[in-house]
């Protein structure tokens, strides 16, 4: 794995004035809306996959090779590209260059960085994922197109001809029982000759559009993790094994977020690097715990207490495997209203830190502390 790519510095790019992140085995970005977390993460993928992405467009046959930076980023960011670039934009302290045509179309289902964007529900149309080659106009970001491709691949390879999730190659440990789909498994229902994704809940067949928000938003994540676990990396042209997931907590109950984190720990054990952007205090709290274990006794099996995995013995080994891994947390923020955003390494999440952004966990603690103060005020006579 190329070490230099594990650091990304982005300047004057969209909402970002300057952001700098050194990625760990598990990296979490937090921060208010529109501080550039998503743009930053997409540029992280671009570092690894620019050539593959442009090759995809060449081999697709419906797009022409870009002649300038704006055209290049339009293929990647969609319409948003128009607001991102300026004459002062820099990546890793250098001006951004136009990619050179490799003249070889390489087609890969799994790129170096697999990216699950926050607006992932938009890949579905009429209860089925859109076709990544034909159903996405150039105005939509590439990461949406690519996760749609992966979702289609999941449906194509993981479901048998009865439309049921195959018992071969799948992640039985997840699909067998989980707090997101319970014991129900997605299946393909044929209605008016159309294939539709559905769940059987209490003997009723519920099509994708009628699932809960959390069930809908989690499906591309579940499918990605399932595929990645059993992917044939020997023959895959891209080998970095990095997964980026934006806002995994969308619509999920804390118990389901805990299950998601367990899935992430198992990916770390398999050697994947994982990057998340999040507004979930449960995820941030977990980063605090991981950091505290790492800087104290290094015994990660104590996570059995936190995640209550007593009856899931496989997690003892998974937790042990976290020893020596690096856990990074970055805060994206605007210095003052109207200014571009900056980033700060808050990985220690040390509540005694003199830097308020670290001790307040990038603003996550302030409300809890004020809630305490208000409750104390209203209870002064009790």
């Amino acid at each position: 794995m190329s070490e230099e790519k594990q650091k990304l510095i982005l300047e004057n790019f969209g909402p970002i004035k300057k952001a700098e992140v050194e990625f760990g085995d598990l990296t979490v970005l937090v921060g208010p809306q529109a501080t550039g977390k998503s743009v930053f993460l997409q540029m992280y993928k671009w570092q690894y996959d620019a050539q593959l992405i442009l090759s995809y467009y060449t081999s697709n046959g419906r797009f022409v090779w870009p002649e300038n930076l704006m055209q290049m980023f339009r293929l990647y960011f969609g319409k948003a590209a128009e607001t991102l670039l300026s004459d002062f934009s820099k990546v890793n302290n250098e001006q951004i260059h136009l990619a050179v045509d490799s003249k070889e179309g390489i087609s890969v289902a799994v790129e170096n960085v697999v990216y699950v964007p926050a607006n992932r529900d938009q890949i579905f149309f009429n209860n089925y994922p859109r076709d990544s080659n034909y159903d996405f106009p150039i105005t939509e970001p590439y990461v949406l197109r690519s996760i749609s491709g992966l979702m289609n691949h999941f449906l194509f390879t993981r479901f048998n001809n009865l439309g049921l999730l195959s018992t071969l190659n799948r992640d039985n440990k997840f699909w067998g029982s989980n707090p997101i789909y319970y014991n129900d498994e997605p299946f393909i229902k044929v209605e008016n000759q159309q294939r539709k994704l559905a769940l059987k809940i209490q003997k009723k067949e519920i099509v994708y559009n009628d699932w809960s928000t959390g069930q809908k938003a989690y499906l591309p994540i579940a499918a990605t993790l399932d595929l990645m676990k059993s992917w044939n990396w020997e023959t895959n042209p891209a080998k970095e094994k990095i997964i980026v997931i934006e806002e995994p907590e969308l619509g999920l109950h804390p118990k389901a977020i805990q299950e998601f984190l367990l899935q992430i720990f198992s990916m770390l054990k398999l050697g994947f690097r994982v990057v998340l952007s999040t507004h979930s205090d449960l995820i941030l709290e977990t980063m605090w715990v991981l950091n505290q274990i790492g800087t104290n006794n290094n015994d990660f099996t104590v996570l059995e207490h936190l995640f209550q995995t007593d009856n899931r013995p496989e997690f003892k080994e998974i937790f042990s495997s976290l020893t020596g891994k690096s856990f990074k947390t970055y805060y994206f923020y605007k210095e003052k209203d109207g200014d571009g955003s900056l980033s700060k390494d808050i990985s220690s999440l040390d509540v005694f830190s003199e830097d308020p952004e670290i001790s307040n966990w990038g603003g996550f603690m302030n409300f809890k502390d004020r809630a305490n103060a208000v409750v104390a005020l209203v209870n002064q006579d009790s």
Partner: protein, 159 residues
């Protein structure tokens, strides 16, 4: 003497605190109500360390940790204190630092006190939620709200 010494026997061997032993939770006075156990018969005695005059005073640590009490085979350290602001939290952390030193280096080293120590908050601040609870946790002190329910906390801590 056969078998493991009881809490009372251990305390009797430590001159600094020998005179402070009280049966049950008597050393906690009215605060005994903040300790909840399933079997009061298994309470093996308690000490109000902060008021134990046998322990020499220290300039660095003007206040000492509040209580130790024994339940079944374990010796637990509990502090009952307000938690309304940063100064209160600093007090508790400083007291815990004193206790840790005393248990390592001085008379207390004969006692095997359970880790983490427990903090019971008086007043209405919810120390389990937010930065106060987190600060205490980073110093090895477990906040258990307004009551220390021993069985419940043992379950949380997996003892």
């Amino acid at each position: 003497m056969t078998g493991k010494p009881s809490f009372a026997e251990k305390v009797a061997e430590i001159p600094e605190i020998a005179a402070c032993y009280k049966p049950g939770l008597q050393a906690l006075g009215s605060y005994s109500q903040v300790i909840k156990v399933a079997s009061t018969r298994d309470l093996r005695g308690s000490i109000f360390i902060d008021e134990c005059s046998g322990i020499p005073n220290s300039k660095e640590f003007p206040k000492r940790w509040d209580y130790l009490f024994a339940y079944q085979e374990k010796i637990l350290a509990v502090e009952v204190h307000p938690a309304s602001g940063d100064n209160n939290v600093k007090d508790v952390i400083k007291k815990a630092e004193w206790l840790r030193n005393w248990l390592k280096n001085d008379g207390g080293k004969k006692l095997e006190v359970m880790h983490p120590y427990f903090f019971v908050a008086t007043g209405s601040v919810n120390v389990k939620n937010g930065s106060i609870g987190a600060k205490l946790a980073q110093k090895g002190i477990h906040s258990c709200g307004k009551v220390l329910d021993v069985e419940k906390e043992m379950k949380v801590l997996k003892y």
